[in-house]
Symmetry: C2
Subunit: 131 residues, 2 copies
DNA sequence: AAAACATTTAACCAAATGGTTAAATGTTAG
DNA sequence: CTAACATTTAACCATTTGGTTAAATGTTTT
C-alpha cells in the first residue's frame, strides 16, 4: 500500500520544517548572510535554546548547513534540498494547469460550435469551479 | 519582531498539511477524481477515522473541498491555496538563482580578464544587480 | 588560570499529532 | 419501520513539538 521510501521521509521533514513561521523567517534571514545563533536569537521573542532547536530542525531537513568558527556557529541557507519540495508541488500542480487547459479548450470548442453564446464565459480562465 | 499575520498562519497550515506522506498521497489521489472516505480508506493501512482526520487537516488548510452527496461525502483537490506555498518557495529560491547568477557573472568576468576577450560578454545575466 | 562569551544539553512541561476502538449520527434501501 | 451503509464523534493513548530554565561544554580574552 504505502511505501514510506526515503523520498517520502525527506519531503515529510522538509515540509515539516517549513510549517513554522519562525523557521521560515530564519530561512529568509540566512539566505544572504551567515548568521550566528546569537544574531538570530536577537530577532525573535524566544530563548536561545529554542532557536537552537529550530536550527536543528532546519539542518535535519537539509535546508541549512552550519559551520563552526571559533566559539561561534554560523549557519546559512542550503536551498538545494528545497527543490524536492518545489518539484513535488510542481508535479502536483501540473494537473491543475491541465484541467484549466482542458476547460479552456472545451469552452473554446463550445464557442466555436455556437458563436452566439452569451458572454458568460469570459471569466472562465481563472476559474473557481469546473463541472 | 515577528508578526504572526494571517498569511503566516495560512502557510503554517498548508506546509503542515503537506508534511505527511499519507496526506500528500491523498492529495495526488483526489486531483482528478472526487473520492469518498471509504474509497480513500481502502488504499491505506489505517482506520476510517484516521482518514477523516487527515481530510480535516487538508480541508482546514484549504487544499481540498468537500461536498455531501447523500450519505457519501466526496472530496476533491482545491489547488488554489497551494499557490501560496509555491509563491513562498519561489520567492525564497529567487535568491539562490541570484547567487548562481552572480557567481556566473563573476566567473565570466574572471575569464574576461584572463583571456582579454572582446567586451561582448557584458550583459550575460538578466539582472544588473547591485554594484 | 580565571573570567567572559557562544552555544548546547538536560530536564521538564503543555499542547498538538497521528493513530486506535467503540458509539453516535445521518441517509438510503427493503 | 428497520436494517444496512457511510461517515463522524468521543474517548483514549503514545509520541512529537515548541517552548522554558538551569547546568554543562567549548572557546577566547585578559
Amino acid at each position: 500500500m504505502l511505501d514510506m521510501n526515503t523520498n517520502d521521509q525527506q519531503l515529510d521533514s522538509i515540509f515539516q520544517a517549513l510549517s513554522d513561521t519562525t523557521r521560515r523567517n530564519i530561512l529568509m534571514r540566512v539566505r544572504n548572510s551567515d548568521e550566528t545563533v546569537s544574531d538570530l536569537t536577537a530577532h525573535y521573542n524566544m530563548s536561545m535554546p529554542a532557536i537552537t532547536k529550530h536550527l536543528n530542525v532546519l539542518e535535519q531537513a537539509g535546508l541549512i548547513i552550519r559551520r563552526k568558527e571559533g566559539r561561534k556557529r554560523l549557519c546559512r541557507a542550503e536551498p538545494k534540498n528545497l527543490t524536492s519540495a518545489m518539484e513535488w508541488l510542481e508535479y502536483y500542480q501540473e494537473f491543475w494547469n491541465e484541467q484549466l487547459e482542458n476547460l479552456k479548450q472545451f469552452v473554446e470548442k463550445s464557442v466555436d460550435r455556437n458563436t452566439t453564446l452569451s458572454p458568460s464565459h469570459k471569466n472562465i480562465g481563472k476559474g473557481d469551479k469546473h463541472e
